[in-house]
């Protein structure tokens, strides 16, 4: 039997996500790297009390209309804010939980002010490293970021080479929702531009990693030297509908230097 990790629909890909699960959500907080269709499917699926882990916790569709004034906001863009708006989130673990402007208040921030959700704020690099630690089987690590700030609070510390370090633990998650450019049926992935970001970091870091791609190509079509995520990190692959792809394909033809 040939291995084939492609599943038929976004709904099928997320159907076993359970109440109380911890979910890694890829991307940076911009549309490019966001696993939009997976997030949308999870909001339809309705699992509750989720802990979501990512650079942001998302701003949601309503705020996206506001940021559209200074940032490109395609229709297909969904982020974790959709889950918060849908009241599926119990806790966020993020570096950017709120927008820079106090005037832009996301559903998550509203719920936070009302004491309905929890937040754990983690420096961005420490967040990436804690996720990688889970992928790489590292239990915890001494990190030089955080001493002398609130990040240090309640944590073990150790002075190494004269510099104080804080002990940070791996973030172990149940599911990872990520976004890539192309996959083969085995699960090898390549990304596009800065959309690699947290997606490549999260690939393989949760018990089950589900990836949303533009295209599935034949095994052997991806340059083995360029594969950023080897097949063994990936459990399920779903292909985005054409509208998303079309928009990006148009960009590609304009931008020859960013090789595809």
């Amino acid at each position: 039997m040939a291995i084939n990790k492609v599943v038929a629909s976004f709904d099928e890909a997320v159907k076993d996500i359970f109440d109380g699960a911890t979910i890694l959500i890829g991307g940076f907080g911009t549309p490019g790297g966001s696993p939009s269709y997976l997030i949308e499917a999870l909001s339809r699926q309705g699992a509750k009390d989720l802990t979501i882990v990512g650079n942001t916790v998302g701003i949601g569709k309503e705020l996206m209309q506001v940021v559209a004034s200074f940032m490109s906001v395609p229709e297909w863009w969904y982020d974790g804010g959709q889950l918060a708006a849908n009241r599926q989130v119990r806790k966020g673990i993020a570096a950017f939980p709120v927008s820079a402007s106090p005037l832009l208040v996301s559903p998550f921030e509203k719920q936070l002010r009302a004491g309905e959700v929890e937040i754990e704020i983690v420096p961005q690099g420490t967040l990436a490293e804690r996720i990688r630690a889970a992928k790489a089987g590292i239990g915890a690590f001494y990190c030089p970021i955080g001493p002398g700030t609130m990040v240090e609070k309640g944590k073990e510390t150790k002075v190494i080479d004269g510099k104080k370090h804080v002990l940070e633990y791996a973030i172990k998650a149940d599911f990872g929702l990520i976004r890539a450019y192309k996959a083969d049926r085995l699960g090898n992935l390549i990304y596009r531009g800065t959309s690699r970001t947290f997606n490549a970091t999260m690939a393989g870091a949760a018990k089950v990693t589900i990836v949303e791609v533009d295209e599935v190509v034949d095994a052997g079509e991806l340059d083995p030297e360029r594969i950023a995520t080897p097949a063994l990190y990936i459990d399920r692959i779903v292909v985005r509908p054409d509208e998303g792809r079309a928009q990006i394909k148009q960009k590609i033809s304009k931008e020859e230097q960013l090789q595809t």
Partner: protein, 223 residues
Amino acid sequence: MAEKERLSRETMAFRVAKEFQDGMVVNLGIGIPTLCVNYPSPDKEILYHTENGALNFGPIATPEDGDLDLVNAGGQLVTTKPGMSLFSHDESFAMIRGGHIDLCVLGAMQVSEKGDLANWLLPERGIGSIGGGMDLAIGAKRLIVVMEHTTKDGQPKILRKCNYELTAPECVDMIVTDLAVIDVAKEGLVLKELAPGWTAAEVQGLTEPRLIVSSDVKEVEIM
């Protein structure tokens, strides 16, 4: 007495960019720091790093040729450049934390006389976004803060001790404001340059800790 003129955001960025040396790897924070990209002298080759996973990317893209898959840390669409590389988030912060960034420029809410930086949490909001600021403040070999010298209410932002939550202690090497250029040295804050028309005493009046006036204090060069 009419309010004296302060340096524009562009002049502050111009002044900061003078610190960029040929061959440096530079990370620019959101806001005024981003403007610095326009001013290094053309004989210098600077490699810009953005924490969302690119090194040596090109200038901001025009709306027509932008690509959603190529953005900087501020979410702005940028362009490609020969010799660019792309990488994951863990790799990007390995670069930062591991001391591979020569210079970082960040904005700030407060800076202390010891170089403590506070730039992420407004107490009245109760929540803020750390982002990659902590990592950059500790990890970059040199940290320049660029900010207005005072708050909107005219209160000093350079303080004996920060009262906002810290981004990192003792990390700032240099402060460029709309009034002055100040080195954070072992002996204290050294006033190196003044905005045209301003005196050391006037700047001291808007600064909480004592400034050591450099023997060769001069005027900030205007673009």
